[in-house]
Amino acid sequence: MTVSAFLTDATLCIGCKACEVACKEWNEVPADGMTWTGLSYDNTQSLGASTWRHVMFLEQPAAAGPQLAETTDPFRWVFLSDVCKHCGKAGCLEACPTGAIMRTHVGSVLVQKDVCNGCGYCVVTCPFGVIDRRPDDGRAFKCTFCYDRQKSGLIPACAKACPTQSIQFGELAELQERAQMRVHELRERGYHDARLYDPQETSVQGVHAFFVILGEPENYNFPPAPEAPTAYLKSAWTSAVICAAIAFGIICVAFAF
């Protein structure tokens, strides 16, 4: 059984948004409006129920990186296609009370749309703010990792449409190795703030979509230390049990007197 992964590389992305278009078309994701944001060329803003790939446009006062021609100030323009991380321990999957969210045989996290009843708990338990409820539909949606295509031996639509191999699809361990090598290579070439965003040490227990980025994870709205909310269960339930016992004790004392 092979475990699939995405490696998305900010240093190769040209911001064409072909991945966004390909994803929408293949998965028949409905339009979800557009606002002229004034935030560089990003009028998509974030991942959501009807946006499963999101190309970010970072304008930064930094010298190392793809340069804009004829600027004297240190400036770089970085692009990155964000996607569901398909966590090793997924907050949405753990929280789903209907079993609609499941782990597939390729290791991805999938919402079964014929089961989801739109309770909305996955929305608040995703540590990356990926999954959301579609207002006019009522159910929760996110990237399917093109599970339908993968079952037929095809690569996901976004990876297929990417013209620069910024989105690479393959086997998890192999891509992790390739990502390490890429970061090493970039640093040797002078991109000193190149790094891999792949949270392995926290309770999300690794992700199936990791990113080669320039700069800080926060610049890409990536949580620096994402936690699967199941990590909070023990302390919350311990408090609940102790407090419930105290509450019962208070009632007993009140009636005993």
Binding site: T35, T37, G38, L39, S40, G48, M56, L58, E59, Q60, P61, G91, E94, A95, C96, P97, T98, G99, A100, V115, C116, N117, G118, C119, G120, Y121, V123, V124, T125, C126, G129, D132, D137, G138, E216, E218, N219, N221, P223, P224, A225, P226, E227, P229, Y232, L233, S235, A236, A240, V241, C243, A244, A247, F248, I250, I251, C252, A254, F255, A256
Partner: protein, 333 residues
């Protein structure tokens, strides 16, 4: 007005430009910094846009927390009152409050679903790691236990004092009290075990807050039903004291993650709720134990604890919008 083509037209154009600028400024994305050419420096977030998604829950969910808490605690009151040999009318009323609450709760829970007709999908799995799943099963069990307890109770009141019915009554009340306690407490875990910064940061305080509200709320409802007895007064005082202490605790926790409890709409509601359920109800109860004052204290506490559930949801929404609070919380841990 438009007879003179020169000056008024030029003036109108300037106004139009102002209008356009104003419209553009108003259509700027929520949380985003204004154009032109915003840049991302240091460890700043992606243009200040939210990292997390705001809770999609609507007005039904906080109301469910409120009613579920009161119902659960009423079942506990019924059991303890029966244990200590209190009057049957008190036990019976408390059980009725519990059962009515248990009957109303699913209506709100189902109404909040994106696909209400699929509510039964909740019952196709049981997941201990999902507070939502635990809550659904607890609510179902609580409804069943309370129904059995009340049925047996009503039969006993009508003279059917068969040992079997008495046994069923006790078993029903014990299980109803146990599941009722969990019903009143789990909603705090439901919010605490999420990715939402202000909720997960306060995951230990949330069950305490919700239990205190449920405890005082159940006593308050019984008082409003006419049971102005010393135990309900004592429980009311203790619940108001706990609410006061928790209010002080939340007010003094000045971490950035708690900003929604200190600033904005959610903070206003949170503070009003805290004063009503805490010092407000407490002062009323300490001033006098005359029936009208006790009823006023009960209403004050109930209103405050209802508002505080809404304030927690609003605080969660505000917290999801604040990327910096999330980053600061994660950098520390």
């Amino acid at each position: 007005m438009s007879s003179d083509p020169a000056t008024p037209a030029a003036k109108a154009t300037e106004e139009r430009l102002d209008e356009i600028r104003k419209a553009a400024a108003e259509s700027a994305p929520r949380g985003g910094r204004p154009s032109p050419a915003p840049q991302i420096r240091g460890r700043e977030s992606y243009y200040g846009l939210p990292v997390l998604k705001a809770p999609v829950w609507t007005w039904e969910v906080p109301l469910y927390f409120f009613i579920g808490g009161i119902a659960g605690m009423s079942a506990c009151l019924a059991l303890v009152a029966q244990l200590f040999g209190n009057e049957a009318a008190l036990v019976r009323s408390a059980l009725w409050v519990a059962l009515l609450g248990a009957a109303i709760c699913p209506v709100f829970l189902i109404a909040d679903l994106g696909r209400p007709e699929r509510f039964l999908a909740m019952l196709r799995v049981a997941k201990i790691q999902s507070p939502m799943s635990v809550g659904v099963w607890i609510l179902v069990s609580f409804s069943g236990c309370t129904f059995v307890a009340l049925l047996a109770n009503e039969l006993i009141a009508r003279g059917y004092t068969d040992i079997l019915i008495v046994g069923v009554n006790w078993a029903g009340e014990c299980t109803a009290a146990l599941t009722g306690l969990i019903l009143a407490a789990y909603t705090g875990v439901l919010l605490g075990a999420t990715a939402n910064p202000v909720w997960s940061h306060n995951r230990r305080a949330l069950p305490a807050h919700f239990l205190a509200a449920a405890l005082g709320g159940a006593a308050g409802v019984l008082e409003l039903l006419g049971f102005l007895i010393p135990p309900t007064q004592l429980i009311g005082v203790v619940a108001a004291v706990i609410e006061t202490l928790l209010g002080v605790h939340f007010e003094l926790s000045r971490l950035p993650v708690n900003a929604p409890l200190h600033r904005g709409k959610s903070a206003t509601a949170f503070r009003i709720a805290g004063v009503m359920a805490g010092p407000g109800a407490l002062i009323l109860r300490l001033v006098s134990d005359a029936p009208p004052v006790r009823r006023a204290a009960a209403v004050c506490f109930l209103a405050g604890s209802l508002l505080s559930r809404y304030a927690w949801i609003w605080a969660g929404r505000a917290s999801a919008m604040d990327p910096e609070a999330l980053f600061q919380m994660q950098r520390k841990s």
